[in-house]
């Protein structure tokens, strides 16, 4: 009787062992894992693809509100060559700087530094735009950063001189 019992026990032990060995048979496992992996990859692909749509929708909404208003910002003789003046464009809070450069051209940029938003000034001795916060320099002729931490150009405000007045007529975020 006891022997019998023992045997039975052994039997089930063996079966357990068989199951363990079964688990070691990895082929199935690998296949199933590959399936799961591909599904996850596919899911990520779809998620990333769909993630572009909100930006598209927002772009459509913002696309209409262009900055194209024409606003008078200065009298043409108000600034001497090498002088600058602050104004706002296109909205209150979008501070900007108008510079009459050494070669007597008008240029204007939004003057929030593209590094950490400090106001940018015109340094007329060196004919350059300077952000004093971390010594960022921008080329006054095109608004591109030339030294210091800023990486992006200043938004450029398009100006027009007409009938003795300087007008802002638009804005370009990326330029040149």
């Amino acid at each position: 009787m006891t022997d019998d019992k023992k045997n039975k026990n052994h039997q089930s032990d063996d079966q357990d062992m068989m199951k363990l060995v079964d688990n070691l048979n990895r082929k199935e496992d690998v296949n199933l894992n590959r399936r799961a992996f591909l599904k996850a990859t596919f899911g990520t692909t779809v998620a990333l693809g769909l993630a572009t749509t909100p930006f598209g929708v927002l772009s459509v909404m913002r696309d209409g509100h262009n900055d194209g208003e024409r606003v008078e910002i200065a009298e043409a003789d108000e600034l001497a060559v090498g002088e600058s003046k602050n104004f706002v464009y296109p909205k209150e809070g979008d501070t900007a700087i108008l510079v009459r450069t050494k070669d007597d051209k008008y240029v204007a940029y939004n003057n929030k530094c593209t590094h950490l938003q400090c106001p940018v000034f015109y340094e007329h001795k060196e004919d350059i735009l300077l952000c004093p916060c971390h010594k960022g320099y921008f080329d006054v002729n095109n608004g591109h950063p030339v030294a210091g931490p800023p990486q992006r150009e200043l938004p450029k405000i398009l100006v027009e001189v007409q009938g003795g007045k300087v007008y802002a007529v638009g804005r370009e975020y990326r330029h040149g």
Binding site: F42, V46, T52, G56, R174
Partner: protein, 65 residues
Amino acid sequence: MDKKKLSFLSIFVFLAINVVSLVQVIEGYYGREYGHVYTFMFVSLLSTALATAAFFIWRKEEYKK
């Protein structure tokens, strides 16, 4: 290369395309270059659609027996 493997691998290509386009879309959005946004959104949606097709092809092959 057989159909199954091809569709399997293509999904990774589409994933890469989507990563790149999402980056471009975000950059374009913050740079207010909306044309850029639309282009890459289109690319990304197209690649998503193709990935979906590829996925179903792969699934059909994988599970048929």
